[in-house]
Symmetry: C2
Subunit: 654 residues, 2 copies
């Protein structure tokens, strides 16, 4: 979208403030706590998270690892040492946050009791001055805040997020009080003259904004901004990370408002930029906004996978050079895709443009969702785009950031479906759900029913309490507008005449396209039914030539889903499949496969090796593609997203 228009929208919408927050956001998200998910795709996944993933997180956090025990040791004061890694507290908080969201959809007294127990233990480990970190308190209380790379503030951030989530679901304030006491300690410790502190792993910035929006205390917003302002001034120092060896690694080479390029650790970058977009919106900071727009383009146009995954290298868990996007070796940490969802939501709120939701949806349905097995108890840390059979989801990880991260994302899906301002409603995601949105002229009930992402049918029943006129902005995904995939890094190699259709009460309706949304402005009355039909053809995607790993390759996409070809559906060997550009694919829902998925089937040439290993032939064979997120649920084996359009040469494997 045009930057000037975006800024225009932002300024026009400046009056759409959240109660109490001095925000200039274009779009305010509607909280998960106000959205009831009824969706046939997502609700079973949220149930799995509630019934399987959350119990796994609880078991790992409390029983199988010493994470909760560290808190108990602090309370016992008997000289025991910390066990585990110095940032393990954060996993407790993220598990609690996942529990909080999950309890909203699936109340469970036993789980809530467990959460309350944990909260008691956390509170008991808080020091009299508000400080809370089991690693330092047990092992080196005199070394607090001496090493910027030891994640004390990162753990604090996750505490704040958990506290806000648990309060929003349960109304209970105990953890929120722990959080604000710790935040006050941090505020008084750092916001004094000559006390620089550059967070080695950003997170606290976005968390302080949540604390600010929940408590309406300006100091937390100011402290979030203080943390952002520390960066890029040469203050970064670490003990384990002598002299902050690579400032790019944690986005500390330039002041944030001067940053234009994505560098370093992908998750750190996503968390920072989520916080920057939050603070930029709340403070109406144009420098932050411009920085974020430029960095976003650098991510999405030059450094993002077709799956919405980012951070191609495991070496730095992050970015390398532009267009360096290896497939089998892709790192694409689950947490980084989760971070893409966070950041893009904020960018959408900041600018009003749907292009950020396009990317959010890409990361959510592909790169992030892939992090969790269908069973809910196996996790990918990295999410490769191709496999020779070496990859499998794991039960848990030493550094256990990803499991609770994907759990909290799915459990909080309600946060991403709708947006609002004082007199506008936005439908961002197509997820079966009910909500009530309080506009200036009265609340509006919305009921969304859809078979998305398997079908393109979306029915939205709009029921204002009293008839009222307001603009309803319905996102038309980029892929449904014959537009290039974001940033023209990826593009459709076929032309599609199929277009979306939009009716109200069965009659085609006038709408304006604004910032990627179809905007229907009319006087809405109870039970008006908006019917959106999105074209769900199978699209063939190619990458620009700069991405050398994808040259002469095609990937398949249908709706928001990126597809892959996996061993289990294709006789094991998929390295021998050719996918000519004119191949016709048929989409069909298979309820018995992978908990129900739409598969794509097409007849393509496949190279076959003779039994004696001394000759090859090509035969036509029907191949089956499945949604990328659903791979690796049937054992190890080959997988590819990008299939060769043609052969330039063959490499014989002996």
């Amino acid at each position: 979208m045009n930057t000037k228009r975006s800024l225009g929208l932002l300024l026009c919408s400046a009056i759409a403030m959240n109660a109490g927050a001095q925000s200039l956001q274009a779009i305010q998200p509607v909280s998960f706590s106000q959205v009831q998910i009824t969706d046939s795709f997502w609700r079973p996944r949220m149930q799995t998270v509630s019934k399987v993933t959350v119990p796994v997180c609880i078991d790992q956090t409390e029983v199988k690892t010493p994470r909760i025990r560290n808190f108990e040791k602090v309370a016992r004061h008997d000289g025991e040492k910390h066990e585990g890694i110095y940032f393990d507290d954060s996993d407790v908080y993220k598990a609690l946050e996942a529990i909080a969201y999950s309890l909203k959809t699936y109340p469970d007294p036993a789980v809530e009791k467990k959460a309350d127990e944990w909260i008691d233990k956390i509170a008991a480990a808080q020091q009299p001055d508000g400080y809370l970190n089991t690693f330092y308190t047990l092992n080196a209380p005199d070394k607090r805040w001496t090493d910027m790379e030891k994640h004390e503030d990162y753990c604090a951030g996750h505490l704040f997020e958990a506290a806000v989530a648990y309060y929003n679901t349960t109304g209970k304030k105990k953890l929120l009080q722990v959080a604000t006491r710790f935040a006050d300690h941090i505020d008084s410790t750092f916001r004094v003259p000559n006390r620089p502190w550059v967070s080695g792993h950003e997170e606290i910035e976005l968390a302080l904004v949540k604390l600010y929006k929940t408590t309406h205390q300006q100091k937390y917003l100011d402290l979030a901004n203080w943390f952002i302002q520390q960066r890029g001034k040469g203050h970064g120092r670490g003990v384990i990370w002598d002299n902050w060896k690579n400032a790019d690694y944690c986005q500390d080479s330039l002041p944030v408002e001067q940053q234009r390029q994505i560098t370093g650790h992908a998750v750190r970058a996503m968390y920072l930029y989520t916080g920057v977009a939050d603070v930029g919106a709340a403070r109406n900071d144009e420098a932050y906004m411009n920085a974020m727009k430029a960095v976003w383009e650098d991510v999405v146009y030059r450094n993002m996978y077709i799956t919405g995954g980012i951070g191609s290298s495991g070496h730095n868990e992050g970015f390398t050079t532009d267009y360096d996007l290896p497939n089998a070796d892709a790192y694409c940490e689950t947490c980084a895709s989760v971070g893409m969802v966070f950041w893009n939501q904020r960018m959408n709120g900041l600018t009003g443009s749907s292009k950020y939701i396009d990317v959010l949806e890409r990361s959510l349905y592909n790169g992030a969702l892939d992090g969790l097995s269908l069973s809910g108890d196996r996790f990918f840390y990295g999410n490769p785009l191709a496999s020779g059979g070496q990859h499998a989801r794991q039960e848990w990880f030493g550094t256990a950031c990803c499991p609770s991260n994907i759990a909290r994302l799915i459990a909080s899906l309600g946060d991403y479906v709708y947006g609002k301002s004082a007199q506008d409603i936005w439908v961002n995601l197509f997820v079966g759900s009910n909500t009530s949105i309080p506009l200036k002229n009265g609340a509006v009930q919305l009921q969304q029913q859809t078979g998305y992402p398997w079908t393109g049918d979306v029915k939205i029943t709009v029921s204002p309490k009293r008839s009222q006129e307001f603009p309803l902005h319905i996102r038309i995904p980029g892929w449904a507008q014959q537009q290039p995939v974001p940033g023209a890094t990826y593009f459709y190699n076929d032309h599609s005449d199929a277009a979306f259709t939009l009716t109200v009460n069965g009659t085609p309706v006038k709408y304006d396209m604004e910032d990627g949304y179809a905007v229907i402005k009319r006087s809405w009355k109870k039970n008006d039914v908006v019917h959106l039909q999105l074209p769900m053809e199978v699209r063939k995607v190619q990458a620009i030539d700069s991405i050398k790993q994808d040259r002469n390759r095609i990937s398949l996409q249908r709706g928001p889903l990126v597809y892959c070809v996996e061993h289990a559906d294709n006789a094991g060997d998929i390295s021998n499949i050719i996918l000519p550009a004119n191949t016709v694919f048929t989409a069909a829902y298979d309820p018995s496969l992978l908990n129900g998925v739409v598969t794509l089937k097409g007849e393509v040439p496949v190279v076959k090796v003779a039994a004696n290993g001394e000759s090859v032939t090509t035969t036509q064979q029907t191949i089956t593609a499945i949604p990328y997120f659903s791979w690796a649920n049937r054992g190890k084996g080959q997988m590819e997203i990008w299939l060769p359009e043609k052969i330039t040469s063959v490499n014989i494997k002996p």
Copy 2:
């Protein structure tokens, strides 16, 4: 061979001492200065080295780079700084050494005048106390001998080698005097109490032994041993290499006599072990011998390429883990293969076993010779065993160790052909040549005529001054004995009934096989003609399963030469060739190809891609293999030594 027999031979031969040297070597090499090369394979290469490579080295050393200028600056005393890399002096010395050998075969007054000029400049740069190093003298005279990793002793070693070589060719002593003054300075500097010094790049040890053998001064042998004894005691320290971070890298983890495994930088290891074998022989040190035998087995049985190249990784220019022998990514530094020639010569001398010459020959004709272009003016630093087309020999290198190293090796080929003791003669290499070997009972003229390595015919005319009985040991290469290639790492997958034949004056002769040699003990008279016929079939070699990169692959060998399949003879694409084990190859000499080589031609299945890139077929096609050493002389392109015996799968390249 059996270790006990080897040791037995060693002790029996203890009386076979070099004049003046207290050596217990089984076999003494006959010096290049006593051997006139007439060979049709090697003499043209020696001529190329003399007429092309040596002038390139002179031009690079004196004109294109500041290597000679650094010596001039030292003499000028006017505060100029050193240019280039701190070890650049060594390239001057190695160029001088190559010149020295080359002048023996191709006398050239202009080149000798240039060498004398350089020697004057080197002598003028020597400090009053004997110290000689342009880097420290120009840049930091007060920092001499403070950093074990800065190659002062390495440069000294190359000075000593050049001095000995130049003296042996010309009889001129000036450089030898510079060398002994510097050696005396080093001796008096270090062989004092509590003055540890671990050479960061070994070389001085073997060079001091040469100085000892030339001057007969025991102190140089003692100093060589002192350097060896410094290792493995935790003394290693470097400034650029803080705290000697990885002692394995330079063979400093254990005392040398306790070493059993090959580690670290391949060239450093080869130079050290050459010196250790030298010192071990001269001092009759069984601990050194046992260490060297064990380390040799570790190199040859687990860490050597079929080309005789070693050091698979460019990361450390050296060894990684056992059997880790990638082909396209092979480092195989030219200098390391040169070092293999040095070390294996010493091991043969030390033990009397031909298996070391088998390896020497393998490294010489393949891994080392590959380092030099046919034109003599292009060089490989690393010598990969496969190429996708990215590799090409270069004009020169910033670190320029390899060009002068391969030049000095080829120019000194005469050093490796014959061995002697007081009453035995050994023929180690099959190289057309004349020599006179002084046995206890009188000198013996030998004239060797052969078409080797293209033919297996070797004619040796033996002419004692007066008839005398002595054992003539003629090496029967391992590959000609239906034996496995060294150490059973590589083996022939086909059985061959072909055997070598041996006659004297046309009549089959009785011989004993001892230590890999056919030993003919008889009363020799003038013009006795020994005729050895070696079987020159094309052999198919396979690797043991532990070398995963070679699994299901076959390489071709004929005589001592490893073959490869290169783009220029095979329509560019060689990644599509299958080489079934039963393929019949025809060998034929092609005088017009690559200055004359024997090619191997066979009809094999080749995978072809259809023009539209959507199908493949297999057709029979005649492929041509060329000697590995001769590849990369016709532009960049694909090359493989190890071809797939069969296809298990194909990998489509889009």
